[in-house]
């Protein structure tokens, strides 16, 4: 068997991230690491070392799905890993991210007010005021935290649902970060190896 490395325990980080958001929403900013690091690695190194070794979420799904046997282990529908769905979900996700940044801008510009709530599945508003003491930081900094945490929690919940229904890492087939980093790697390595053996 493979020997264990420090990065094999990053699933703890994935858990910790969501726990911290229950106590202080400002910790949501730390999630930017999970946004920027995969892209940085793909651009600089031209590989998916993040997905392959460093993604705490992927590790968590693996532990829960395989280790705790919470996954049915059935094959996911083909469309879930089809190019049109992956790109479509990426566009949808980026649009929602852009919308969240715009809401942050509105608050920063004084055209919107801070909403101390987490929005699940881009629809359901859950009051989350206990995790933020008003006035601690600028309103826009807090607004971004609530928006970003919403995005992270929503995607984690989707990932958990498909983990249970299908295979542990089914989320990875349409994870927006995975789609982007694979796209970057394919562009960077165009003209390289084509065959598997």
């Amino acid at each position: 068997m493979r020997e264990k490395h420090w990065y094999d325990y990053l699933w703890i980080w994935a858990l910790l991230y969501f726990l911290l958001g229950f106590f202080n929403i400002l910790f949501a900013w730390l999630g930017m690491i999970d946004f920027l690091l995969p892209l940085g690695i793909a651009v600089v190194r031209g590989d998916k070392a993040f997905c392959n070794s460093l993604c705490g979420r992927g590790q968590l799904f693996n532990r829960l799905g395989s280790g705790c046997k919470l996954s049915r282990g059935r094959p996911a529908p083909k469309w879930m890993s089809a190019k049109w769905f992956r790109v479509g979900f990426l566009i949808f996700f980026l649009t929602m991210f852009g919308n969240m940044v715009f809401q942050t801008y509105l608050v920063a510009a004084g055209a919107g007010t801070l909403r101390e709530a987490v929005k699940l599945f881009w629809t359901f508003r859950v009051p989350w005021g206990w995790a933020y003491a008003a006035g601690t930081v600028s309103d826009w900094v807090a607004q971004f935290s609530f928006g970003f945490y919403s995005l992270m929690l929503t995607s984690a919940l989707i990932g958990l649902v498909v983990m249970v229904l299908y295979r542990p890492r089914t989320w990875c087939t349409f994870c927006p970060m995975g789609t982007m980093t694979q796209g970057i790697c394919k562009l960077k390595n165009a003209g390289g190896q084509k065959d598997s053996a």
Binding site: R2, C51, G58, P168, W171, T173, K188, S196
Partner: protein, 67 residues
């Protein structure tokens, strides 16, 4: 003694997540430069663990044709 079967990932469907690389007991599977997974046919023992874990279901187990 070579195994009767070997794993063959479909590069068009592979999402390069690395689940196969992680589970392979022989270190025969790896993700090639973040693009798709590749199998070292010399090392593959045809256990099928990678095919079972692959979230995209893109790994097929094939019969080895021995010369």
């Amino acid at each position: 003694m070579v195994s009767k079967r070997y794993a063959e990932p479909d590069q068009q469907v592979c999402v390069a997540c690395g689940a196969c690389e992680k589970i392979c007991p022989k270190g025969a599977v790896s993700v090639w430069r973040g693009c798709w997974s590749v199998v070292d046919l010399e090392l593959c023992v045809g256990c099928g663990k990678c095919a079972k874990i692959c979230p995209a279901g893109c790994i097929r187990m094939k019969e080895r044709v021995l010369a």
